[in-house]
Symmetry: C2
């Protein structure tokens, strides 16, 4: 099957799949989880062989992948994502007679999902983007990542089996491969939205491609993030060693190949750090990087920061094996806030891999004013503080909420929960369009609003009908209810 | 004040304005409505002199403008737009311990609003985009439209008065003018989102500008739409003359300078139409177009369709006065569905002004399959039908929901209500990003999600605190509640 055939099948499946009721769609998502679980050992084995990630990590990731599919099944059945609003006809409406208006979210149509390299299960063929798009009612065409082709094919097979078993239209899920196909598919007018997790460079190129189509579409890119972490003086005094050990663990996890890896740790000038960090880094085993591309990128970016003159605390090295993969242990360097303010993108941009920069600061006020300038767009921003400091750090927390989608206190940004309140997305360059790619709110990316005006009940979608056969939340504006302006004017 | 100063003031106002509580922000919006009402005769007079629109239309528009501001004051106080989600910490969470997570929407920062020419009040300086952005907590920089500079300045003055009267930070609302300033302001990194209502050509140029910034931002363009209307055979038989008269009225309103003007009316082959249409068009008075630019564009686009060989039913002409403005009465032409399928953009694209095309069809099945191909992106799609036909038109209604943001039965798309269920936006080219620019859902364009993880109550924004001092809707996921997968698996 060519990629054109796969898109044609997705387009053909779109109306039928959009018309599935919540039970049918949920059954498919749960079946997908079951099919993945049924071949878990095979999937984990493929993943280990292809990505260099370990068994525990991949087993956990498979559990998360299945969980996400089931979570979105619940989202579909619950129905709040449809955001149903019913405005009753109101002949006396303030700005002229109001007809019967019923608004709901509908699927945008076939979605192109670019699989990520660093989550070969949870953000690949059957990953979060796929689960969200399928839950929204959109067929999904996945552009498989070249880093784990066997795992991708096997995962797609499981999804196709789940779709057939639950009577979904053929083409509801498809897999394409190859760089050129991935770009041309984005230009295909039958694709109505796309999502991507990867580098700022590739993401920006794809965003341009999506914008330059005759009919531009939304391109949801989850790109670079350096995830600054601030440690206050009181926190250092209280539990400095534990924080530094937690830092190294967070940087080292999955060999630093996580979009939420803390790339910069701000510590007070006087804090003693090097011995603890060196000791913690020394016990981290050497880890293979995901792909040859990741390997080359890590060598490049790590080299650029080192060349800029950062002081090396722990040097985890880079060793290239005969297959062209880099093996590394954490490299941790240090600089000062004033040097960082003078630095360019070579130092400030993300280094994807087990690398991080300690930044020494004079005062928290300096950090508060520098953060938005240095790092305006991040997935996360974190602070480690002592309880006594809560009143004084309020401005810093506020600054963090301006530059990040998730603000953490006394925790590490790696390890992203999948739940209604999660936000995995932030100002540019963290994401291309304000949205989240993790958690139930991710479904919103693949929906658009449609208002039905004076449409007879027999022609309305079930979700916006008065008899509400799906039992979804409906927000109703009764006739006459909008005449409370006088009261409001009085109140304010 | 230069445009740079205006943006600097907006950026300086952003944190303080974002921190206003719902009551303060609502008081400002209500005060804005009051200030506009207090100088209503002056504003209407300026509008009549500058735009050629009539007193009744502008008086109604002012009422709508004030209404929108008050409506968004209610949205702010009610608080559902914050989409607050609280996931309680859950040590036994399915995919690993879940920390305390609290998500809410926050303002994106200063917004650049390009005023529209055709709604000098309701979509200009104090219009819908401004009301939505201010309600979201974003300072607004309006790029005034050159078609009504005096009205723009006077409106801005009223908003500034309202802001001062209610203690809002200086710079929360500002006005800039000039084409070049409008483009450069969009490139300014302090601007965090932009909205625009206007032509596809200018909109596409601005969308590119927004995308090419070092930090790209969301550009909400409400661009072209032809708003197809289908009349079924039974509807013609039942009330053909009334429908045709309604059509001419809808095309003629505000001299056709409305984004929801029906640009194409699909009628059965055999329907007799010309006499009724000619009679209805003949009684429409000549109307001046909004600007010289609109005038030139209308002459061009009308000429292009006529040159393509459409049969003229009623020729409302174009007369250019000594100031360069065109005066016109409705021009209505006719073609066949098969000719339309063979036509190019000269015929298919929007004609902004009192012009529309009747399209004769053989069967509704032909219309159902042709519509998505001819007109893939619209603000509205409408059908006039007889009650007996409701079962047979279901596929056409479904096709309409795929190509438009609002689907109407037995009504005309002009006259857009402002309410929770309204959707004014549709697939490209109708809008650049799936969203609505009319109705309360428009506030979502100027918000982004932030998740607070394990943040102590004293550092949390009021909306996500357990004591909920603002009394906003909070969606809570209790610990242990996410273990219902077994049950779900059993159900589906």
């Amino acid at each position: 099957m060519t990629w054109q055939d796969t898109i044609a099948a997705a387009a053909a499946a779109a109306p039928g799949y959009a018309a599935t009721d919540p039970g049918e769609r949920a059954r498919f998502l749960v079946a997908a989880a079951e099919e993945l679980e049924a071949c878990a050992p095979e999937l984990v084995g493929l993943g280990m062989a292809e990505t260099g990630l370990g068994e525990a990590r991949l087993t956990g990731e498979l559990r998360r992948t299945a969980y996400q599919l089931r979570l979105f099944a619940e989202v579909v059945v619950e129905g709040a994502y449809l955001d149903v609003r019913i405005d009753e006809a109101d002949p006396g409406f303030a700005i002229g007679p109001r007809p019967d208006l019923r608004r709901m979210n509908v699927p945008v149509g076939p979605v192109l999902v670019y699989a990520a390299s660093n989550f070969p299960l949870a953000f690949s063929v059957a990953g979060g983007d796929t689960a969200a798009a399928l839950a929204a009612g959109c067929p999904v065409v996945v552009k498989g990542h070249s880093g784990h082709p066997g795992l991708s094919a096997r995962t797609a097979e499981a999804l196709v089996t789940a779709a057939r078993r639950t009577g979904m239209p053929d083409g509801v899920i498809g897999l394409i491969t190859g760089q050129q196909a991935g770009i041309e598919a984005l230009q295909d007018e039958r694709i109505k939205a796309a999502s991507f997790t990867g580098s700022t460079r590739i993401g920006a190129m794809l965003a341009r491609t999506a914008a330059e189509r005759p009919s531009p579409i939304q391109f949801y890119g989850e790109l670079g993030s350096v995830n600054p972490v601030v440690v206050t003086p009181a926190a250092v005094a209280e539990r400095g060693a534990a924080i530094l050990e937690g830092f190294v663990t967070s940087v080292a996890g999955s060999a630093g190949q996580l979009c939420t890896k803390p790339g910069f740790l701000f510590v007070p000038d006087a804090a003693s750090t090097d011995d603890v960090i060196r000791a913690a880094a020394d016990v981290v085993p050497e880890h293979r990087l995901l792909t040859r591309g990741t390997s080359a990128g890590y060598v490049d970016r790590r080299g650029a920061v080192l060349a800029a003159g950062a002081h090396v605390i722990a040097d985890g090295g880079v060793r290239t094996d005969e297959d062209g993969f880099v093996w590394a242990r954490p490299t941790l360097v240090e600089t000062t806030l004033s040097e960082l303010v003078a630095a360019g993108p070579d130092v400030l941009d993300e280094v994807f891999g087990p690398f991080s920069v300690l930044v020494r600061y004079d005062s928290l006020a300096d950090v508060t004013s520098a953060l938005p300038v240095l790092f305006p767009g991040n997935l996360t921003a974190s602070i480690h503080l002592a309880e006594s400091e809560t009143p004084t750090v309020a401005p810093l927390i506020e600054a963090m909420s301006r530059i990040a989608g998730r603000v953490l206190v006394n925790g590490w940004p790696t390890g992203v929960s999948v739940s209604p309140a999660m936000q995995h997305g932030g100002p540019s360059p963290a994401t291309t369009i304000d949205s989240t790619s993790v958690g139930t709110a991710a479904i919103g990316r693949f929906l658009r609003g449609v208002c039905y005006q004076s449409v007879p009940a027999s022609l309305l979608p079930p979700a916006v009908r008065d008899d509400n056969p799906w039992g979804v939340p409906q927000r109703r504006s009764p006739a006459g209810a909008s005449t409370s302006w006088g009261e409001l004017t009085g109140r304010y």
